[in-house]
Amino acid sequence: MSEPLLEVQLSVNGVVHDLRVPARRLLSDALRHDLGLTGTHVGCEHGVCGACTVLADGRPVRACLMFAVSAVGLNLTTVEGLAGADGTLSNVQQAFAECHGLQCGFCTPGFLTTITAGLRDNPQPTHEQARDMIAGNLCRCTGYQNIVKAVERAAELGA
């Protein structure tokens, strides 16, 4: 028996893509495997680690907890869409580079998208707020010390 496919349109980083996917296709898989946007990573497949976080209409969502069909009509932003059109790193990306905010880089896209949304809502966080901002994402390498610094540095760059 063959699995029925649904025609969906996904808007990702300002580009509209036509896809034919099964109803059960996860958004994370559609982004990675159907669209080749492999910057979004899958660390746990149950919404805990945050590595797959993308922005949907500017709000952070777990791409592993959403079906591709549920993302129809949303403007999605993945890590590939954070830098400027001319390739300039965003403030958050720049801050990560300056502060040694990443090691293996696997969880990094989820942090970058999360912090991008966080700083939009609260551009000048206190130290406590900077820590809170990343408290839903797991990193196994950095011990978070430099990620917190990167949040604060990104706020400075955006000031």
Binding site: T38, C104, G105, F106, R131, Q145
Partner: protein, 801 residues
């Protein structure tokens, strides 16, 4: 002269691709509809005989390309997986099959393998395989293994895979003669490396060239290459293994081959399609590897100063269902337990035991956290017994700076003498005391007590054998563009190797840092290598790269000297330009030297046009002189006599809630000596990450097995990996640099240090905090949760009332 980069916190060059979503991890390879995907049926039982496997329901599932069980494997693939590190003491080593044959020995053991159009369909198919099991009683945990009233492997008596003993004298006599004695029983539970990226393998067979390409998320690409070749009956030269970006390893990815690392290449060759296996998180919990589970019994004899006269240690190591990685973990515990101290007599005996749980391979620190816990708990116990300050008891036992090299009289994990190369432990102790405010703590404690708050301080010391051999190699190649291409076979999983290795090359060669590109873990570029583990990358590959760059520079100077009509001794290379010292006009750049190094027959661009034999070289000599080779490159290897020994001390101030027993970290301090620093920013990053994993191991992470061998917390929801909310808000770090005499750069490894003393330092601090209201309460098992501390208080109150 260019600024020297060694010792400078240069920003990482690898970050650009990671920040832009352009990293290439295993699952990012071969993203196209033609790729097939594998899924694995895993045992639901910890111990069972396989009576029958029925795959009939799978064969007609649309999109399924292969369904394999053990019966489908032939030749070397049908043999057990290799025992990678055999050891004479490992008398009963056992390894699993790529797919279970007749019996399963842990929940998660691979039973059947399916390849399908996508992972969803492959998992559907896995769900339709019917296996009939004859369930056997399992052995779970060290106590059950020691009781041995049931066996994991019928032919392994007592569940004892290995028994090993080392000693430096007659410990019983020394114990009997010691004026004071103590006994301790200490437990450490299982945890796991748990990288954010699990295991993953992609393979492609090229029928036109009869070659196999394998991308795998490993810590050793040469090891995987060798085993794939052996198991698939291929010549080594037919197999390329490429380690792409790796999303963390921490030890677990050093084991090889995983069953899937063989089955995926086999499927790619059989099906003539690219095949991919990407482990999911639950699979990682139940089918990769764990570590840390050990129990220890210690008898110690000492004098009134706290000096160690006799140390007698027995411990039992839970190595799980199989022993593919040999005895590395318990050997490290048994030797590294000594830390910076020098007991008069030491004896250690361990048994490595089979249990029906996931197998054990090294996890960051690899047996050292347990050893450090055992030794430092002993030090604290001695201090308590004598009523002395904990730092004094440690200081009186330190190996002194003028005693190096210091031979501990044991054999280390690499088969070499446990001989420390250099260090200054008294200086480290002074630094940690200052950094944490050890001498001011009583005043702070009194101040807190006045507010009804309960605080404690602890410290722990360790020595870490790093940079184990046998060797690593490097290749440095200067192109005619002046770009410098560097390859080392050792892999990388986030440590910033591309940056630190480029620093070393730029320093030694005199080229521009930006012109250096480093490739790691690609057997096409450097087929001789060992791997990334035991904090060995900087020491081993760093030294090899340094030597290869030096060799390349010799050739640069030889060729440039001829071109500039100068003596090589009068030349310097700065920012990629070779010039005669004192004559700024006489200069050529490295790219031009590369042109001169390679006489050509054909011209295909400006550089090659300049390099034809009609314009290059002395017409009186052959175009490539005897004892010369065309091209500007150098290869070299570094192989040390023995390991380097990094060292360090951690201290922590904690607060424990008098009511809820919640444990809060108020201050965390680290002093660290990894010899000369290449990039302090990266070293501190390694310490940060290690401390977080250490906090996790001390306070949160454990593998919760039930008595039937089911892992009850096999998800990130239930295995408590720390978020930012669980780690110290700020870690104070200070460095000491005692250069290693064993390598040209004077460096020692830094990768694991952050995690080693954590269980010990937290136990010490929590015990100290509790001491005021519960005198004599001792912490003997880690990790410790608030509820465990709460119950410990109750039990202690009952005992003492």
């Amino acid at each position: 002269m260019t600024t020297r980069l060694m010792g400078t916190g240069v920003q990482r060059v690898e970050d650009q691709r990671f920040l832009r979503g352009r990293g290439r991890y295993a699952d990012d390879i071969a993203v196209d509809p033609a790729t097939l995907h594998a899924a694995v049926l895993r045992s639901p039982h910890a111990h069972a005989r396989i009576v029958d496997i029925d795959v009939a329901d799978v064969l007609d599932v649309e999109g399924v390309h292969a369904v394999w069980t053990y019966d489908d494997l032939t030749g070397p693939m049908a043999d057990p997986l290799p025992l990678l590190i055999p050891h004479p003491a490992l008398t009963h080593g056992r390894t699993q099959y790529a797919l279970a044959k007749d019996e399963v020995n842990y929940v998660g053991e691979a039973v059947a393998f399916v390849v399908a159009e996508d992972r969803y369909v492959a998992e559907d198919a896995v769900g339709r395989i019917r296996v009939t099991y004859d369930v056997l009683p399992p052995v779970v945990g060290v106590e059950a293994a020691r009781a041995a009233d049931r066996l994991v492997h019928e032919d392994v008596p007592g569940n004892v895979g290995a028994r090993m003993e080392q000693s430096t004298g007659d410990v019983e006599a020394a114990l009997a003669a010691a004026p004071r004695r103590l006994t301790l029983d200490l437990d450490v539970e299982r945890s796991a490396s748990m990288p954010l990226e699990g295991r993953g393998t992609v393979a492609r067979w090229d029928p036109d060239s009869d070659r196999l390409q394998v991308w795998t998320s490993t810590q050793t690409s040469t090891g995987v290459r060798a085993v794939v070749a052996v198991k698939l009956g291929l010549d080594l030269r037919q197999v390329d293994v490429i380690t792409p970006d790796v999303g963390g390893g921490f030890g677990v990815k050093i084991n090889h081959p995983w069953p899937e690392e063989l089955l995926v290449p086999l499927a790619a060759r059989t099906l003539r399609r690219t095949v991919k296996f990407i482990e999911d998180r639950r699979e990682h919990f139940v089918s990769s590897a764990h570590e840390r589970g050990q129990i220890h019994h210690i008898e110690v004899g000492f004098d009134d100063e706290g000096r160690l006269l006799a140390l007698d240690v027995r411990f039992w190591h839970d190595h799980g269902a199989y022993t593919p990685y040999g005895l590395i973990v318990p050997i490290i515990t048994s030797t590294q337990l000594l830390g910076p101290y020098k007991p008069d007599v030491y004896r250690v005996v361990f048994e490595s035991l089979y249990t029906n749980t996931v197998m054990v391979t090294p996890y960051r620190g690899a047996g050292r956290p347990q050893g450090c816990f055992a030794m430092e708990r002993t030090m604290d116990a001695i201090a308590a017994e004598l009523g002395r300050d904990r730092t004094e008891v440690r200081a009186v036992n330190f190996i002194q700076p003028d005693e190096f090299p210091f031979d501990q009289g044991l054999i280390f994990q690499d088969g070499r003498e446990l001989e420390y190369d250099s260090g200054d432990y008294p200086a480290l102790l002074e630094k940690i005391k200052t950094l944490v405010g050890w001498d001011d703590f009583p005043a702070f404690r009194a101040e807190m007590a006045a507010q009804g708050r309960r605080v404690g301080i602890g410290l722990a010391c360790y020595v870490e054998g790093t940079g184990v051999g046998p060797y690593e190699g490097a290749h440095v190649h200067i192109e005619t563009s002046g770009k410098v291409k560097v390859a080392t076979g050792l892999t990388t999983q986030g440590q910033g190797h591309a940056t630190v290795f480029a620093q070393l090359v730029a320093d030694e060669l005199g080229c521009r840092f930006d012109d250096v590109e480093v490739v790691t873990g690609d057997t096409r570029r450097m087929p001789y290598a060992v791997g990334t583990f035991a904090s060995r990358a900087a020491v081993m590959s760093g030294s090899a790269i340094h030597l290869a760059a030096r060799k390349t520079k010799e050739k640069v100077l030889r060729i440039a000297a001829e071109a500039l009509e100068a003596s090589p001794d009068d030349l310097q290379v700065v920012d990629g330009v070779v010039s005669v010292k004192g004559s700024p006009g006489a200069a050529i750049d490295l790219g031009t030297v590369a042109v001169l190094s390679n006489p050509l027959r054909y011209a295909f661009d400006e550089a090659s046009k300049a390099a034809t034999q009609f314009t290059v070289g002395d017409p009186g000599k052959p175009p490539v002189p005897e004892d010369e080779e065309p091209g500007l490159e150098g290869t070299d290897f570094y192989s040390p006599e023995r390991s380097t020994f990094a060292s360090g001390m951690h201290a922590v101030i904690v607060e424990t809630d008098p009511l809820t027993a919640e444990i809060t970290i108020l201050k965390y301090a680290v002093v660290h000596d990894c010899g000369r620093l290449i990039n302090p920013m990266i070293v501190e990053g390694q310490i940060h990450g290690g401390v977080a994993q250490g906090v996790a191991g001390a306070l949160y992470e454990r593998m919760v097995y039930d008595e039937s061998g089911q892992l009850l917390n096999a998800s990130f929801m239930d295995f408590l990996m720390p978020y930012v909310t669980e780690v110290p808000d700020g870690i104070d770090i200070d460095h000491l640099e005692t250069p290693s005499p064993l390598n040209p750069l004077g460096i020692k490894g830094a990768g694991e240090a952050g995690v080693i003393p954590s269980a010990a330092v937290f136990a010490s601090a929590i015990e100290d905090a509790e001491g005021l209201s519960s005198p004599g309460l001792t912490i003997t098992a880690m990790p410790i949760s608030p509820s465990e501390l709460f119950h410990l208080r109750l039990a202690h109150a009952e005992e003492t009332s």
